[in-house]
C-alpha cells in the first residue's frame, strides 16, 4: 500500500495536471448539475420566498395559482367552529399590472389607507415611481384600470393596498381571501382541524406544513391535501413534482455521460508513466489504485470548491414576478452529483487502463 502511495505522490509532484485537469472539469460539471437540481428544488419551495408562508397549514380554493384562489372566511370559520386552540390568519394576494408589468398585490386590513399604495422598492427602482404620484393598476379580473396614490415604500417587489381596494381589483365581495393560514396549538388540535375540514381518515397524515385545497362540489366541500404548497397548484397545469424531479435527476445523469472521458484522459495523460510502472513490475490493479486515488482526490477538491461557490452565493438566480429566487445548492445535491461524476470517472479510468493494457 505504501509503495502505491509513494508512486502516487511521485506522479502528482511531477504532473500537477493530474489533479488540476479532472478537478476543474468535475467542478464545472458538478456545479452545473447541482445548479439545475437546486433551481428546481427552489421552485417547489418558492412559497417561502413569494408568499413568506414558512412552515404552516395553508387553506386554498381550487385554483391554478395562489393569486387566483378564493376562500370564504365565514365558511371556513363555520367549518372550524367546534375546534378550540386554533388561530386562522387570512391573506389576500392577487395579480395585477402596474403599468404593463405584472405585480403581486397584497391586500392588508391595517396600515394602508384606501386609495393609497405602498410600493415595493424594487418596483420603484425599475419603474421610476415617486412618492405622492398616481400610479395606474390594471386588473386582469375586472379589465379596469384603477389609480392609487403612492403613500409609502415597502421592501421587496410587491404592491401593498388596502383590503377594500385589493378586493376591488380581484372583483370579489368582502369576506373573500386568497389563502388562510392555520396555526394549531398542538398536533391534537391540528388533527381536529383536519377532521373538521373533512379530510378522509386515510389521508389524515398529520403534517405541520401542507396545502389543503377546498373544492366545492354542489353543496358539499371536499378537501385535497398536498405536502408541498406549490405542488398543489402546479399539478393542475399538468406539472407533476415527481416527474419534474425525475427530469432533474435525468439531467444530472446525462450531464455525467461524458465524464468517463475524464478517466480515459487520465490514462492518456499518464500513458508513459503507466508504461514505465508496468515495466517496473507494478500490477495492473496497482496502477488502477493510483488512478483511483487521483480521481478521488480530484473529486474532493472539486467538492470543496463547489461548496465555496455555494456558500459565496456567486450563482445567479431567476426573477419570478419581480421576486428574486436564488438557487441554494444543498450539501445533499452536491454530494449526489459528485458521487455520480466520481463513479463515471472511475469507470472511464478502468476502461482506459484496460484498453492501454491491451
Amino acid at each position: 500500500m505504501r509503495s502505491y502511495f509513494k508512486v502516487y505522490i511521485l506522479m502528482v509532484r511531477k504532473r500537477c495536471a493530474l489533479i488540476v485537469f479532472p478537478a476543474v472539469v468535475l467542478l464545472v460539471l458538478s456545479v452545473l448539475s447541482a445548479y439545475a437540481l437546486s433551481s428546481i428544488r427552489t421552485l417547489y419551495y418558492a412559497d417561502k420566498t413569494l408568499l413568506g408562508l414558512g412552515d404552516s397549514v395553508v387553506v386554498s380554493g381550487a385554483a391554478i395559482s395562489p393569486f387566483t384562489s378564493l376562500v370564504n372566511s365565514e365558511e371556513l370559520s363555520r367549518l372550524l367552529a367546534g375546534v378550540k386552540g386554533v388561530e386562522v390568519e387570512y391573506l389576500f394576494l392577487t395579480l395585477a399590472y402596474l403599468y404593463d408589468k405584472p405585480v403581486v398585490i397584497h391586500g392588508v386590513e391595517e396600515g394602508v389607507k384606501t386609495g393609497c399604495a405602498h410600493v415595493g422598492v424594487d418596483l420603484v427602482k425599475s419603474l421610476h415611481i415617486n412618492v405622492g404620484e398616481a400610479i395606474p393598476v390594471h386588473s386582469p379580473f375586472s379589465d379596469s384600470t384603477y389609480f392609487f396614490e403612492v403613500c409609502g415604500l415597502v421592501e421587496g417587489p410587491a404592491l401593498l393596498l388596502n383590503y377594500e381596494d385589493a378586493i376591488k381589483i380581484r372583483g370579489v365581495k368582502p369576506g373573500y381571501y386568497t389563502l388562510a393560514v392555520i396555526r394549531a396549538e398542538n398536533r391534537e388540535v391540528l388533527e381536529e382541524v383536519y377532521k373538521a375540514l373533512g379530510l378522509e381518515p386515510a389521508k389524515q397524515k398529520i403534517l405541520s406544513r401542507a396545502l389543503l385545497v377546498l373544492v366545492r362540489k354542489g353543496e358539499k366541500i371536499s378537501v385535497e391535501a398536498y405536502e408541498n404548497i406549490i405542488e398543489g397548484y402546479l399539478y393542475r397545469l399538468g406539472i407533476y413534482r415527481d416527474f419534474v424531479f425525475y427530469f432533474a435527476y435525468a439531467m444530472v445523469i446525462i450531464s455525467a455521460l461524458s465524464t468517463p472521458i475524464i478517466g480515459v484522459g487520465l490514462v492518456v495523460l499518464l500513458r508513459r508513466e503507466v508504461y514505465v510502472l508496468r515495466l517496473l513490475g507494478l500490477s495492473c490493479r496497482g496502477v488502477f489504485l493510483v488512478l483511483l486515488t487521483t480521481v478521488v482526490v480530484a473529486t474532493l477538491f472539486s467538492y470543496a470548491l463547489a461548496q465555496v461557490i455555494a456558500i459565496s452565493g456567486l450563482l445567479p438566480g431567476t426573477r419570478v414576478l419581480g421576486y428574486y429566487i436564488s438557487p441554494s445548492m444543498s450539501v445533499e445535491d452536491l454530494i449526489c452529483v459528485h458521487f455520480v461524476h466520481l463513479v463515471m470517472c472511475i469507470t472511464g479510468a478502468y476502461i482506459g487502463l484496460t484498453r492501454h493494457a491491451k
Binding site: D143, L237, I239, L257, V268, T318
Partner: protein
C-alpha cells in the same frame, strides 16, 4: 504546400474509414453526448406561451382592454397626461388627458354617450362617479390650479379616472404615459414571453458552460481516436506528406465524425424526448414539449465550431509530437 482536392478527399475518406473500422468513433459519440442531448431536452421545455394560446386564447382573444404603459409597445397606443384634480361634489380624482382624440380612440375606450348636449369642454366620467353625481351634465373640475366647468358627454368603465376629451392639451409634468388598446390575450402573452425568454437565457448560459466543460473530454476523445490510427498516419508521413497536411486531414476526419455523431445524437434525443412525452401524455395530462428549432440549430452550430477548434488543436499536437506517433 499544394493540396489537390481529389487526393485530399481520398486521404480524409481513408482516415474516416480506418477510424470507423476500429470503432474508435464511439468515444467521440460519448464525449459529445452530454452537450447535444441536453441541448435538445432543454430547448424542448414546454412553452408557457403555447400553453396560454392553447387553453385561454378563445376566452381572452376577443376581450379588448385599455392598459396604461410607460412605452408604446403593446397594441395601439396614444400618449396621455396624468394629473390629480378635484371634482366638485365628489372629491379628489385622477385625470387622464389623451394627447390626440380620434374616433377610433373613443370607440376603443367604449365610451357611452350620456345624452347631454356638449359644445365646450367635454369629459367622460367613470360610471360610478356619474351615478354618484346624480347624472349631472355639468361638473366643476379643479386641475393644475385652474377651475373650469366641464360637460359630462360620456361615461366609461375601463378607467377609474376622469378622461378629459380636449384635443391638443398642454404638456404635463408627467406625460410619459400611454393608453394602449389591446386584447387581454396580448397582455398575458407579453408577460409569458418575458418569463420564457428569462428561462431561455438561463438555459443558454447553462448549456454554454456545459459545452466549455465538455471540451476537455472532446480533446481527450480526439487524441484517443488519433492514437487508434497512428499506424496509418505514420505511413502518410513516411510517404512524404508534410506535418501540416497530416494535421489538416486529421482535423477534417475528426470533424466529419464529430458532426455525424452530433447529428445522430440530435435525432436520437429528439426521438426520445417526443416518444417519452407521448407515452407520458397517455398516462397523465402533461404539457407538450416545444421544439425550438432555431435555438437548437444555433447551439449545435456553436458545438460544431468549438469541436472543430478542439480537433484542430488535438491533430496539431498529435502530428508534431513524435512520442504520440
Amino acid at each position: 504546400m499544394v493540396f489537390r482536392a481529389g487526393k485530399s478527399i481520398r486521404i480524409v475518406t481513408l482516415l474516416v474509414k480506418s477510424i470507423l473500422r476500429r470503432n474508435a468513433h464511439l468515444i467521440l459519440l460519448v464525449s459529445l453526448s452530454a452537450p447535444l442531448v441536453l441541448t435538445v431536452i432543454l430547448y424542448s421545455l414546454p412553452s408557457p406561451v403555447l400553453f396560454l394560446e392553447e387553453y385561454f386564447s378563445s376566452a381572452f382573444r376577443d376581450v379588448n382592454v385599455v392598459i396604461t404603459s410607460r412605452n408604446s409597445i403593446i397594441g395601439k397606443c396614444i400618449k396621455a397626461g396624468l394629473v390629480e384634480g378635484e371634482l366638485a361634489g365628489y372629491g379628489p380624482v385622477t385625470l387622464v388627458y389623451p394627447k390626440v382624440i380620434t374616433k377610433e380612440f373613443l370607440e376603443a375606450l367604449k365610451l357611452n354617450e350620456t345624452g347631454c348636449m356638449c359644445s365646450g369642454l367635454t369629459i367622460s366620467l367613470p360610471r360610478d362617479i356619474y351615478v354618484y353625481l346624480n347624472y349631472t351634465c355639468n361638473v366643476g373640475l379643479r386641475t393644475l390650479g385652474a377651475y373650469g366647468s366641464y360637460c359630462t358627454g360620456y361615461t366609461h368603465k375601463s378607467l377609474e379616472a376622469v378622461i378629459v376629451l380636449v384635443n391638443g392639451t398642454e404638456s404635463f409634468q408627467r406625460d410619459n404615459l400611454y393608453l394602449c388598446f389591446t386584447s387581454k390575450l396580448e397582455i398575458a402573452r407579453n408577460t409569458l414571453v418575458e418569463l420564457e425568454s428569462s428561462i431561455l437565457s438561463t438555459v443558454d448560459a447553462w448549456l454554454f458552460l456545459l459545452l466549455i466543460a465538455s471540451l476537455p473530454g472532446v480533446y481527450v476523445a480526439s487524441i484517443r481516436v488519433l492514437l487508434s490510427i497512428k499506424s496509418e498516419l505514420r505511413v502518410l508521413l513516411n510517404v512524404g506528406l508534410s506535418e501540416a497536411a497530416v494535421t489538416l486531414y486529421c482535423t477534417f476526419a475528426l470533424w466529419i465524425l464529430e458532426v455525424l455523431s452530433g447529428l445522430f445524437l440530435l435525432s436520437l434525443s429528439t426521438t426520445i424526448v417526443y416518444s417519452a412525452s407521448t407515452a407520458l401524455s397517455t398516462l397523465v395530462p402533461a404539457l407538450v414539449p416545444t421544439f425550438r428549432l432555431g435555438q437548437i440549430l444555433r447551439h449545435t452550430l456553436l458545438i460544431f465550431a468549438f469541436t472543430y477548434l478542439v480537433s484542430s488543436i488535438a491533430s496539431r499536437r498529435f502530428a508534431r509530437n513524435e512520442e504520440l506517433l
